[in-house]
């Protein structure tokens, strides 16, 4: 049944993609009759989407710190479960902001420190295992941790501490060092979260520049540049979901490599991917960017929403743990279908929405070499 549904979804999407392969010309006329102004799009993107999403990440990272602190103080199965739930919340919250990698998240290796991914050579795993084996005391304070490899400072390392080999020790006092390491990671992420929120809230920071660009700003001089940043986030986000989250573990022609899936240990792979897509969808929806196009391009909004709904139908079909899903024909076909949908959404953003707004996101300018 699921296979049939996936095939139906595929069949439904095909004509839309073919139709949308046509690149729409920049519509200069259209800008005279906008339903939504470009500056209001920028304001909503920052105020209603980006800022609250970073605040949510900080809040969830704070809650994780409390939960892991509680676990370390009183190791028990219920407390370990509580820490794992709080971890899942942070993965969810971060997945919603990780492609907003402009300004604050792009500084000081913050993105890599929160989640070092992709990690093709398994550097993070090796370093975390070594650190746990050696009981490296420097890794039990956020300050000490911050001076170590970015690969041991964030979500990947904490996932291994909570779910990896030897994590049973967290149920009782045997896991004291491991728990303190986990607490240092949680505090490290909470600290980065606080910095991200502070930077996004700063009165003369990136937020005000992005909302109201000015010729004398170094980062955003015009509304065009600011809108290109937003569309770039959506387009490149879709590309990253496909190229760094899905394709590496789906593999080619039946050679699935589930251990290349992010968060396979915690079983949060698809939850994270879904949150990735939801984060970008929220930016698309709430900014009302698709309403800022001219009358001839008004259909883009519905086409994009249609592809988002296809994406979520596909993620809903992947119900098994990822190693099983990647080798079960029905779920694998849903994953492959999701790959197609992310490509379609990337094209919708990078080419069609970009052209409809007279931007140049998908070609040359922001996609150079």
């Amino acid at each position: 049944m699921r296979l049939i549904l996936a095939l139906i979804l595929l069949a439904m999407a095909a004509p839309v993609m073919a139709q949308e392969g046509k690149l729409l010309p920049p519509n200069a006329e259209a800008a005279k009759y906008p339903l939504v102004t470009r500056s209001s799009v920028l304001e909503r993107a920052v105020d209603q989407v980006i800022r609250p999403a970073f605040q949510n990440f900080k809040d969830k990272a704070d809650a994780l710190t409390v939960a892991v602190d509680g676990l370390c103080a009183a190791p028990s199965t219920p407390n370990l479960d509580g820490a794992k739930l709080a971890f899942a919340d942070v993965v969810d919250a971060y997945s919603r902001v990780e492609f907003f990698k402009i300004g604050p998240l792009g500084q000081d290796n913050r993105a890599e420190r929160i989640f070092f991914w992709p990690d093709r050579k398994g550097i993070g795993l090796r370093q975390v295992q070594q650190l746990l084996a050696e009981h490296d005391a420097a890794a039990t304070t956020p300050e000490g941790l911050a001076s170590k490899s970015v690969a041991v400072q964030g979500l990947g390392a904490l996932e291994y501490a909570l779910y990896g080999t030897g994590s049973d020790a967290l149920n009782d006092n045997d896991g004291s060092f491991r728990c303190q390491f986990g607490l240092a990671i949680a505090k490290n992420m909470a600290g980065i979260g606080a910095d991200l929120v502070a930077d996004w809230m700063a009165p003369d920071g990136i937020a005000s520049h992005l909302m109201a660009p000015r010729e004398d700003y170094a980062d955003y001089r015009t509304e065009i540049e600011a809108l290109e940043e937003l569309v770039g986030i959506m387009s490149h986000g879709m590309e990253a979901i496909r190229d760094t989250r899905l394709l590496p573990f789906i593999g080619r022609e039946g050679s699935a490599k589930p251990k290349l899936a992010p968060f396979w240990r915690s079983g949060l792979t698809m939850a994270a991917v879904q949150a990735n897509i939801e984060g970008l969808q929220k930016l698309f929806d709430q900014s009302q960017i698709a309403d800022a196009v001219g009358p001839t391009d008004m259909g883009l909004k519905a086409s994009t929403e249609f592809e988002f709904s296809n994406a979520f139908r596909a993620t809903d079909l992947v119900t098994s743990p990822i190693d099983e899903a990647a080798t079960t024909p029905k779920q694998l076909s849903a994953l492959n279908y999701l790959v197609i949908v992310t490509q379609s959404l990337q094209t919708l953003f990078g080419e069609q929405l970009s052209a409809a707004l007279s931007l140049s996101v998908g070609f040359s300018a922001l996609d150079g070499d």
Partner: protein, 363 residues
Amino acid sequence: MWQRRAFLRAAGVGFVASLLPAQTEALERADMVVASAIRTGTGHYGAALVSERGEVVSKLVLPDRGHDIVFAPDGGRGVVFARQPGTFAVVFDPAGNAAPLTLTSAAGRHFYGHGVFSPDGRLLYATESDFEAAKGVIGVYDGTSNYRRIGEFPTYGTGPHELLLMGDGKTLVIANGGIETHPDYGRAELNLESMDPSIVFVDTESGSLIGQVRLDAGLRQLSIRHMAIDGRQRVWFGCQYKGDQTDQPQLIGYATLDGVIELVELPGDLLSDLRNYIGSVAVSTDGGMIGISSPVGNLAVTIDAASRKPAVIKSIRNGCGLAPQGTGFVASSGNGELLGLAGSKVADQTFDFGFDNHLAVLA
């Protein structure tokens, strides 16, 4: 990516096997012909040869996005390389007398989008990735034997991009951008925290390293990508910065075979407008002027090679391609514009396709 290779086999590459009379005429009467990878209004990829009068001499269909085009010194053959991490390169005859030949990268290798011919036109060198080892290599192709790949040598770095032949005709200069990618992860940059960009000089006969220069350790996230050689055999290079967006490092400089590497200081305002991104570097035909472009900053700038001062600053939306003409340059944009800069006689014109990052002159 591997689907692309299969697609190539299945679909072949089309077709400028013979030019129409009008096109042959356009080619013959053109003072200058430039070539670029393009994207059509319908979202298809190809390459185009256009004259300075704005006539389209010929077009080539490509299965995916191309990057740079290089011509043999006698102009008898051109090669358009796939954009990284692409696996095809298409050898074509600008005069349209021979069918295009599609090269496919060797197993475990992909192209980076740039190549160069040997002075006699017999050998073609291409920057490639040995992606499992995350090391750059130069693939060597024999033009006298259907461009068979006859060997490779290392670039002594990761993520090589543009390569050029020095004036001695036997020393390659290669920009190792320092960025690791792997086709399993698309174009994702896998080592931003441990980049090690460099410029290397390599002997084409032995493949041995003649020299390697690096910028200061604090600039290891400054990816060296594109180059051009001036009249004094200085290798001018342009960089793309992968560090904090709030940083503002210098973006251009030059290196020499003697081991000098120096950044050239541009004024703060101009630097800011370049948006930490140089997309192309060119040197004027007379060797005295450097051209750089930033499609991110929508800017093309010429710099006097002797005084190292900016001469012309021109705003070009989505502009990236630069080709030398006399004392100036022809510039192209992703929006389909072609225009002359700093003394070039080419008049502004717009095509119904977008030019990709680089513009090459057919000799």
